[in-house]
Symmetry: C2
Subunit: 330 residues, 2 copies
């Protein structure tokens, strides 16, 4: 900075002001400083600047899984909204392992990010609460109550109901659900499914999966191994749904000929022509935009009101993986 000041023939204080984009610098001096900096290849050390100012202008985004495009969509929403602000996004992932996610979150805290956004995180509520006490935190695709963090998610109960209703309207009565009960933040999909099934006078049939394609395939095999093979399957996310379809097809069954499948997320994958999966859109980008708005409200403001909860309304997108039930000849 000293060097730049000397080259531009101004004071070090002025260089600092220019670097911080202060409005109280004359255009001429600003120009001179910028030119000198460029010539010397000078770039402000953000480490030092952040240490002194207590602001990093950085928000840390934890993406649950880089292989699942639905999280990329949430990222896009965040990015759209933060583009015209001074905040920069830094992302990390724990590759769906809770311990490594926790580690990534602590790295964000150690780096003193201005805010943290959790996208599909699988860490326990207690940890999220602790994080919320240290830095503005918003969790997406999941809700955390009784903690100083904002939640923004889709109304999954409504989404699951929409999926069941869609299949019911097509005449399906034997509707299985692939859920991941052990996975945090996915209870609502299961609840919505079970509740709606009972309301319709149908028996819920839940098979365990996880958040991967392999889990979907395993769930499909578990279904086939029983004597009761459903005519339709509602999977708790698209990746799982695709795993179900793969396994079913490999077993000689036709989708949607023999079974109809509904996914959840409406990610890029569901939209692939060859996949064409009917799916509940969880409004991923909007989730990201809303999260960004919450971040902007919190960052740099004194702790305002208590934790907030935003729920978006899901929308079912019908594609070719579902069709009216055909009577089984057996």
């Amino acid at each position: 900075m000293e060097d730049v000041a000397r080259a531009a023939d101004v004071s070090r204080a002025l260089v600092s002001l220019v670097m911080r984009d202060s409005p109280k610098v004359s255009p001429e001096k600003r120009e001179a400083v910028i030119r000198a900096a460029e010539q010397l290849g000078y770039r402000r050390n953000r480490l030092a600047s952040s240490l002194a100012s207590h602001r990093t202008h950085t928000v840390g985004v934890l993406l649950s899984d880089l292989h699942n495009p639905v999280f990329a969509a949430v990222y896009d929403g965040l990015d759209d909204r933060l583009l015209d602000t001074p905040q920069r996004l830094l992302v990390a992932t724990g590759r769906t392992d809770p311990d490594r996610e926790a580690e990534a979150i602590w790295t964000f805290l150690d780096l003193r990010v201005d805010a943290v956004v959790l996208v599909g995180a699988s860490v326990p509520d207690a940890l999220i609460a602790k994080v919320g006490e240290r830095v503005p935190t918003v969790v997406t695709t999941r809700r955390v109550d009784d903690a100083p963090v904002d939640s923004v998610l889709t109304d999954d109960v409504a989404g699951a109901r929409a999926a069941v209703d869609h299949l019911h309207d097509l005449g399906h009565r034997d509707i299985a659900h692939v859920a991941s009960p052990s996975h945090l933040g996915h209870h609502d999909r299961l609840d919505g499914y079970a509740t709606r099934m009972r309301e319709l006078g149908l028996d819920p049939f839940v098979v365990e999966g996880d958040l991967t394609r392999a889990g979907g395939a395993r769930a499909a095999h578990a279904m086939l191994d029983r004597d009761r093979v459903p005519t339709a399957v509602f999977a708790h996310n698209d990746v799982t749904a695709i795993g179900v379809v793969d396994a079913l097809t490999a077993s000689g069954l036709d989708v949607p000929g023999d079974l109809s499948i509904v996914g959840y997320d409406n990610s890029d994958l569901a939209q692939l022509g060859q996949v064409s999966l009917t799916s509940v859109d969880m409004r991923s980008e909007e989730l990201g935009r809303t999260a960004a708005d919450l971040v902007l409200e919190r960052v740099g403001s004194p702790p305002l009101d208590g934790p907030r909860l935003h729920q978006l309304h899901p929308v079912l997108f019908e594609r070719t993986s579902t069709r009216p039930v055909t009577p089984r000849d057996r």
Copy 2:
């Protein structure tokens, strides 16, 4: 730190040593310090620590596109290798926009990361050279010559030849290539295709695409609009190939009945049961692991030898999107 020292009844210097995992601290004192830190909720400020030590123990990874799973695979390779080192990964993306990628890279530099890894970046060579002068840099899936940066990539000429040979072996003679000539780092695939076609006495037929599904669809339409419709298409990446298949299928053609398709990358997408795309595996994870090794060699060492280049050998994976040519009745 002072507080922790007081609570543990040791000196501030000792706390610093413990935080840096120094071996010259007795187990008892170490325990006491760790306990005190935990109790006070103390975490070392990495901003301050990095500023003083000139090391951030952080490598910045620029991923070209979070929606393309092939980059996630490279990330996985990096992560595998860096897991047991003190280095932490921070990722950023420019969403395939060169200007935004450049911005993300500068953010890494401003943060003083120990190294930068570029995965599929679309910024110009000149910028990469400038980055390499400031920090150890390795670029993957692309090579940069005449610059102080390491390159690790697949032998794309060989990969393209393998794709052409595969189709040729199946009897195809009319083989189109969807390329993205404007896109940096993809010349070799085009060159390999064109060279091999000529060697086989065939006419190269190149259609322009980009790196997206939409680009593939546009390329497919461009092919259909001509009077010469090929019997096979080799697309320069999987996403493009899928776009081609989608558009072809929507136009009433069958893949592989009417046209065979080969992709490049062998990403998650190619492996989906419903997509089942024959694809050239670019060994993405191995790319990541190799990049990590190069980073580790450079970080903290005095500038050793000159820039290095690692080339991996691609492998074609045959799936159901290709089959022997069937004579056209026209």
